[in-house]
């Protein structure tokens, strides 16, 4: 079923994907995601020059040529940014398009000079052609990947520092420029070995996508690198298989689409950082906040008649807060399900013992905040989003003590028998 050729191709592209994932993650974190794109486009004249100089197709020579003009491209970007008033984004665009134009000029020259047979070889570098991969290509990819892995392992700490906070690294006396250069060197190597498989135009995507996808799954650099390399591996494997089976599907675009599918899936469905998970978490915390407000209001309204639990009119609750009656209906339904309130009739409800306890605790925290802000209005900015947290978690102990004293003295401390069971707040 699986032939030797297929095996070679699969091995090559999946290794390439994994390496792209590894190196691309650093570029991504360093906010240099698009420099891979510029670099890749800038390799085209190098490929052609090597071909023109040698007069025949030699993979190693062409890759060396590609590496040289690719690095020339990023050095040009750095010089332009340093010397002129042109901003980085425009520098990237200028180098990308002008070098690519240069490459196209050379390709046309080669087409004029040679027979169509060898010209086809150059065209395949533009959109990539995995099918032609041979053992020698895989050796090159494997060697470079191994080298990148070694460098990353040796310089892991330094790369981490530069990737997350380059100016801090510089301030600490690390050779940030050299490390940046080393990183860009790895990116250049990776781009160059990816050219035969994915092509000049789209190799950058392979550098960006695995890292961007992995970022949704983890918060730690170590695991991000692992996930990213794994994603790249899968992209290579799946993309190549599809491209081999479907006619007229150039490898580069197919790999990119597989990558963007994985990226999209990650963006939507990753636990915790994914969009769906974040929407759910947002909704949950909004619900919690609403419940809290509701019980707090209920406690405020029932407080005067305590310990007797007198029913409260829904209309009074509505007066108190800006809920619509539909929102309030939903709140009451939920609270009833939790056993916090009883409906007396259609118009009235009252909190259960359990609901009152919760309400008392929330009201206490709210009143402590109010007292605190009364006393220290200058501090408002320092403690944002106050009412949903327990003040004792945020305020320093001595401040807390004085705020407690003030609230006790004002006589607005919620009824003690509702509180003592839950928290030691009333102490």
């Amino acid at each position: 079923m699986i032939t030797y050729n297929t095996l070679i191709v699969l091995l090559g592209t999946s290794l390439l994907g994994a390496n792209c994932g590894l190196v691309g993650s650093f570029a991504l974190l360093r906010r240099r995601a698009l420099i891979g794109d510029t670099l890749a486009h800038a390799t085209l004249p190098g490929l052609c020059l090597a071909f023109l100089l040698l007069g025949y197709r030699s993979l190693p020579a062409m890759l060396v040529g590609a590496f040289v003009t690719g690095v020339m491209g990023i050095v040009t970007v750095a010089l332009l940014r340093h010397w002129t008033r042109i901003k980085e984004d425009a520098c990237l665009g200028i180098v990308l398009s002008v070098f690519f134009g240069w490459g196209i000029v050379l390709i046309k020259l080669i087409q004029n000079e040679t027979t169509s047979g060898s010209k086809a070889g150059l065209d395949s570098y533009i959109f990539g052609k995995t099918a032609g991969m041979i053992a020698q290509d895989v050796m090159i990819i494997g060697g470079v990947s191994l080298f990148c892995l070694l460098v990353v392992m040796l310089l892991f700490k330094e790369f981490k520092l530069v990737a997350f906070d380059a100016s801090f690294a510089r301030a600490q006396g690390w050779p940030a420029v050299l490390l940046d250069l080393a990183l860009m060197g790895l990116v250049a190597l990776t781009v160059v070995i990816g050219l035969p498989a994915v092509g000049v135009v789209l190799i950058a995507a392979l550098l960006i996508m695995p890292g961007a996808a992995a970022r949704f799954w983890t918060e730690r650099l170590e695991s991000m690198l692992l996930v990213s390399a794994f994603v790249g591996f899968v992209v290579g494997l799946v993309g190549t298989s599809i491209s081999a089976r479907v006619d007229n599907a150039p490898a580069g675009p197919v790999l990119v689409l597989v990558g963007s599918s994985i990226f999209m899936l990650s963006m939507f469905f990753a636990p915790r950082r994914g969009l769906v998970a974040r929407l759910v978490a947002d909704r949950r915390s909004r619900l919690r906040l609403e419940n809290r407000r509701f019980l707090e209001v209920l406690f405020d309204l029932m407080e005067p008649a305590l310990p007797e639990r007198q029913p409260i009119a829904l209309a009074d609750v509505l007066d108190h807060r800006g809920w619509s009656s539909r929102d309030l209906g939903r709140l009451v339904d939920r609270a009833e399900k939790h056993g916090w309130v009883d409906r007396v009739d259609r118009e009235k409800l009252r909190a259960t013992e359990k609901g009152l306890r919760k309400g008392a605790r929330y009201a206490l925290s709210h009143r402590l905040w109010l007292t605190f802000l009364d006393e220290h209005p200058d501090q408002i900015a320092a403690y944002a989003n106050l009412s949903s947290t327990d003040p004792a978690e945020l305020l320093p102990a001595d401040l807390m003590e004085s705020v407690r004293g003030k609230l006790l003295a004002s006589g607005r401390w919620p009824s003690a028998d509702l509180l003592e069971t839950s928290e030691e707040l009333s102490r």
Binding site: I94, S97, F100, I104, V105, F127, A212, P250, M267
Partner: protein, 437 residues
């Protein structure tokens, strides 16, 4: 090589189409550059490919009005998707990279599947500007390639757009917050601009292909940015650069027998490089020149100030005191700069030689006195206002003395109430001693 009339016409029309599309791109590119969104232009030019493929399947043509509208939609979509993914927690450049490579990949696959002579992956890259003169339509009695009409109308649309929204675009480009506070929706203007960029890109696409259109969007605008500071003149220069790159791109391609579109972007790159080096205000050469001139002035001034102090120690200007060349080179910080400074000041008539000594000419003495005056006034000012210790006064004054002009000198003199001695007890030379005359 003999040129026939048809060769000449072909050249004329090709250059015309190149110039027209370059002009539209260059004008919009100025806004992209100023708003630091050049790469969004790059992204949009890639992202419209699937739209072009679909439209080609439906209509069999690349440039038509429905496609122009469709491309505008895709341009807005690209900008919008990028923003959406960015909000989803990905850095802006990465989200841009994900969006446009994906859309471009879809486009390439569609184009490969279509299998048509007119729209193949090669055409996506190189464009078909060489084919422009091949088909013509009669227009007002002339045989005109349809591409000229298309590009001409696009340029008119662009000019109208820029003209109508001139104030809004300018405000949003330079100060989006101010624009918002004045009631101009920065978002709306942003998406309008992106729609225009996409529209222009899609029409230029036929001529130069997906990637080289980026050169037309960014390079002329960047070149102009190095040459001028006003928006309208920047646009004018950018259009000029676009024209030059079309013209010389075509000629170069003809001479080398290679791709016109590729050559156009190479020429644009060369023009940009010229501006990088030789722009009068922002060029590298003029920067280096100004730095060198400043260094030489400072070194020369250090030398004459040293001679002036030597005269002072020897008892005034009549003493005819001077310093040796070695000492003056040391005062200038040594090296070739010192030699150049000595030569330069001698050339300007500020220094003279007597035997092996360098002495001051009257002009040189006046200049040196003013410098020493600045130096000592500054020392006194530092001592009184910053309360630096006595031995910390010389170094800052040595640096600042070269930048204190007559006016500031007067102000210092007034603030310090016309002092006679500096903190070290040395006399502060008067502005212009009467005995000079």
């Amino acid at each position: 090589m003999s040129l026939t009339t048809s060769d000449f016409l072909a050249a004329w029309w090709t250059i015309a189409v190149g110039t027209l599309s370059n002009a539209s791109c260059a004008i919009l590119g100025c806004y992209l550059l100023l708003r630091r969104m050049s790469l969004l232009g790059d992204a949009i030019s890639h992202a419209i490919l699937p739209g072009i493929a679909i439209a080609f399947l439906l209509t069999g043509k690349i440039a038509s009005f429905p496609i122009f509208l469709g491309a505008m939609g895709i341009g807005v979509l690209t900008a919008f998707l990028t923003q959406l993914i960015h909000r989803g927690g990905v850095t802006e450049d990465a989200s841009l990279g994900v969006v446009f490579t994906s859309l471009f990949a879809i486009g390439v696959i569609m184009v490969s599947a279509i299998h048509s002579v007119d729209l193949d992956p090669g055409c996506v890259l190189y464009g078909l500007i060489d084919a422009v003169p091949l088909t013509t339509q009669p227009f007002l009695g002339f045989e005109v390639p349809p591409a000229v009409g298309t590009m001409g109308s696009v340029l008119i649309v662009v000019l109208l757009f820029v003209n109508i929204f001139w104030k809004e675009l300018k405000l949003v480009s330079f100060d989006p917050d101010l624009a918002t506070s004045m009631g101009i929706s920065a978002t709306l203007v942003h998406y309008l601009l992106m729609a225009m960029v996409a529209g222009v890109t899609v029409t230029s696409f036929e001529a130069v292909g997906a990637i080289l259109v980026v050169a037309m969007l960014i390079v002329p605008a960047a070149t102009a940015h190095l040459l001028t500071d006003r928006l309208w003149s920047m646009m004018l220069v950018a259009v000029g650069v676009g024209f030059l790159s079309s013209l010389f791109g075509y000629i170069g391609a003809l001479l080398l027998d290679t791709s016109v579109a590729g050559m156009m972007s190479v020429v644009a790159g060369l023009l940009f490089l010229l501006a990088v080096f030789f722009s009068p205000r922002y060029g590298v050469v003029s920067k280096v020149w100004h730095n060198l001139a400043l260094t030489l002035r400072i070194s020369g001034e250090d030398i004459i100030a040293t001679i002036y102090r030597a005269e002072e120690r020897a008892g005034g200007k009549t003493s005819g005191a001077g310093i040796g060349l070695g000492e003056s080179l040391r005062a200038a910080g040594g090296g070739i700069v010192g030699w150049l400074a000595v030569a330069g000041f001698w050339w300007q008539g500020l220094l003279d030689c007597r035997g092996s000594l360098l002495i001051l000419t009257p002009d040189g003495r006046r200049r040196a006195r003013s410098l020493v005056r600045s130096h000592r006034l500054w020392e006194l000012f530092l001592e009184e206002n910053v309360e630096l210790p006595l031995d910390h006064l010389h170094d800052p004054a040595e640096r600042v003395e070269h930048f204190i002009d007559r006016h500031l000198q007067e102000e210092l003199n007034d603030v310090l109430e016309s002092p006679r001695k500096d903190p070290h007890g040395r006399p502060i030379p008067p502005l212009d001693s009467m005995d000079e005359a």
